[in-house]
């Protein structure tokens, strides 16, 4: 279990997040949604242990996240950030292999390399292994980074649950790969892993999330344990747009359509 209890995060006198509480359970895919600048990435970084909360605390297996060392955390918690660029040229295989850094001392074992090959295959990127990372398109780079992140926590640790945190993982992917990647993330959560993603597309969230947390202006606006209960009013409040929830004829699941705020 990964839990934020009344966390706030301030930078100088600006409050980026105020009194936020979320619970992310193993086996569950939690999605964070909200307008730009609402504090989604801040919350994700607090859950990752990158930021220390100004108030409140983040608990991982009932212990404060700050009591774990960076090395310890790296063995069971992986984070996919947005748009990662390298300062120097490096092959795709080398980038993915970085995911195994927390698991070996000097040189990677054959096992480490096998895991990397497997995660690259999982994302359909095997034939890119020898390419220079800097020559990849945004979407290809995103998939390579996802392979790296999966390689980092590919194996279940002896104790506890793995944590996968994704910051706008589908932003540069085409429609097909958006679905593929989120499917992968959800399948991953089904292996008793804790998965949290920041998403912008409400329909993708509805299709894959087990729980949606809405954040607005630095506060948790609402937590929906069952996304099917989503209402248009709730969305209109969060995003300040005209919204309508209908049924997706393909999946018979809720589908959100929207228009500019003038249409409300």
């Amino acid at each position: 279990m990964l839990k934020a209890e009344n966390v706030s995060f301030r930078v100088q006198d600006k409050t980026l997040l105020h009194d936020a509480s979320v619970e992310c359970r193993p086996g569950e895919f939690t999605v964070l949604m909200g307008p730009n600048g609402a504090g989604k990435t801040t919350l994700l970084r607090l859950l990752a242990g990158l930021y220390q909360p100004s108030a409140g605390r983040v608990l991982y297996h009932d212990q404060p996240l700050s009591s774990f060392s960076a090395t310890e955390l790296a063995k069971s918690r992986a984070v996919l950030s947005q748009e990662i660029q390298l300062a120097f040229p490096l092959s795709v295989a080398d980038v993915v292999l970085m995911g195994r850094y927390p698991h070996f001392q000097r040189s990677p074992s054959a096992h480490d390399r096998a895991i990397c090959a497997q995660t690259l295959a999982e994302l359909g990127m095997s034939h890119f292994a020898d390419r220079d990372y800097s020559t990849l398109s945004g979407g290809e780079a995103q998939k390579v980074q996802m392979a790296r992140v999966l390689a980092q926590i590919w194996e279940t640790p002896p104790q506890g649950h793995r944590v996968l945190l994704l910051d706008e993982p589908v932003s540069s992917l085409d429609l097909r790969y958006q679905h593929q990647l989120l499917q992968l993330a959800r399948d991953f959560s089904r292996q008793q892993a804790i998965v949290v993603a920041v998403l912008h597309d409400i329909n993708l969230a509805l299709a894959y999330a087990d729980k949606i947390v809405f954040i607005k202006e630095g506060q948790i606006y609402d937590t929906l344990p069952n996304p099917d209960e989503l209402t248009a009013e709730m969305l209109e409040e969060v995003f300040d747009l005209a919204m309508c929830v209908i049924t997706n004829p393909l999946t018979q699941r809720p589908l959100v359509i929207h228009a500019s705020a003038d249409m409300r």
Binding site: V11, T71, L73, S81, I84, L86, A87, F88, D94, P102
Partner: protein, 358 residues
């Protein structure tokens, strides 16, 4: 894209061979040109395979070889290695291919620290006389380098994070301050001291002797061994500071350690031979042209290539206008500055994305 292990071994074999050849050839050349036969003879003597020669000319040549040539060539090698490794560390730490120790105040701070000893040391008679004197200059250079680097590091810390852009700006300011201090000391100094500051700012290996070689050797070997322990963390840093942290690297601690290590390397090298720029910039870049990317390989490779290039540069510097000597810093600037400019235009086209906003 990827280098095979065999290719990497080949590169290292070639670098090692180049180092040995450059040491021998460089030890041969100078005001007195020694033959390979003579050098072979000395080496055989020193390991007890051949008897010492009684001929006075041969004895003179032997003195030239052991007291002047060999320590100088070997000092070139370790200084070149120290500066090149330092450049590799800096570029990896700041994720920027155009960073070198000179840009963030390290060299200028070391120069100021040494200038203080040059000018004020005259009133401390024990400084030049005693064995301790060998260490006062490096110590002062280290203090100066550490103060300058620490100041740049502190000034460039914005909201607890160091950004490359602010670090380069702070580096310009601290460089100017240190250069002003050195200039002021040169101005108030009496003539021989002022001359030594000037010469020292241009770098020279002419005062090379065995103690300075042993000092730089010890620090460089220690530095390379420590640097190799940070290589994996520096690789992870390629992805960015946050990503490295997610991969289990304590980034703050790594930054502090690398800066300290770098300061030590540059301060000791600079206090011994003066300011020599661009080696730290050019060497890692040349290795990257060979498509070496892993920091372990880059660190080891730059220690070898740095040594080779420094030996060649010094050989050129002391033979090109013989019997006079060109200051080595002038030579490396003539070669390094155009390379720097070329890289600047090259990376603007190619790698601006990851370059400055690390």
């Amino acid at each position: 894209m990827r280098l095979s292990a065999g290719r990497v071994r080949l590169y290292f074999g070639l670098l090692l061979a180049a180092l040995l050849v450059s040491i021998i050839v460089s030890a041969r050349l100078g005001a007195v040109v020694l033959t390979f036969g003579e050098i072979g003879g000395y080496l055989a003597q020193s390991v007890g395979l051949a008897p010492a020669s009684a001929d006075p000319v041969a004895a003179l040549h032997e003195g030239v070889f052991f007291q002047i040539r060999l320590p100088r060539v070997l000092l070139c090698a370790v200084v070149g290695a120290a500066l090149a490794v330092s450049g590799t560390l800096m570029q990896a730490l700041f994720r920027n291919p155009i960073v070198e120790p000179g840009l963030i105040g390290t060299s200028a701070g070391a120069a100021l620290g040494a200038a203080v000893i040059f000018v004020l040391g005259a009133s401390m008679s024990w400084v030049n006389a005693t064995f301790l004197g060998n260490f006062v200059l490096p110590a002062a250079a280290f203090v100066g380098a550490l103060a300058a680097t620490g100041l740049v590091y502190r000034l460039s810390r914005v909201q607890g994070r160091v950004t490359v852009a602010s670090m380069l700006l702070a580096g310009i300011a601290v460089n100017a301050l240190a250069a002003g201090g050195t200039g002021f000391l040169a101005y108030i100094a009496r003539d021989p001291q002022a001359r030594s500051i000037t010469f020292w700012n241009l770098g020279s290996f002419s005062s090379a002797d065995w103690p300075s070689f042993y000092l730089v050797l010890t620090v460089t070997v220690l530095g390379v061994v420590l640097a190799l322990r940070f290589a994996k963390a520096l690789n992870a840093l390629q992805l960015g500071e946050n990503e490295a942290q997610y991969l289990g690297v304590n980034v703050r601690q790594l930054q502090t350690r690398i800066l300290l290590l770098n300061t030590l390397l540059v301060a000791v090298a600079t206090s011994t031979v003066g300011v020599i720029g661009f080696v730290g910039l050019v060497v890692p870049h040349l290795l990257r042209l060979l498509r070496l990317a892993d920091n372990r390989q880059l660190l080891l490779g730059s220690s070898l290539l740095g040594a080779v290039l420094m030996i060649i540069s010094d050989t050129v510097a002391r033979t090109i206008i013989a019997p006079a000597e060109l200051p080595i810093g002038v030579l490396t600037a003539f070669i390094g500055a155009p390379v720097f400019l070329w890289m600047l235009s090259h990376y603007r086209n190619l790698n601006q994305r990851g370059g400055f906003y690390a």
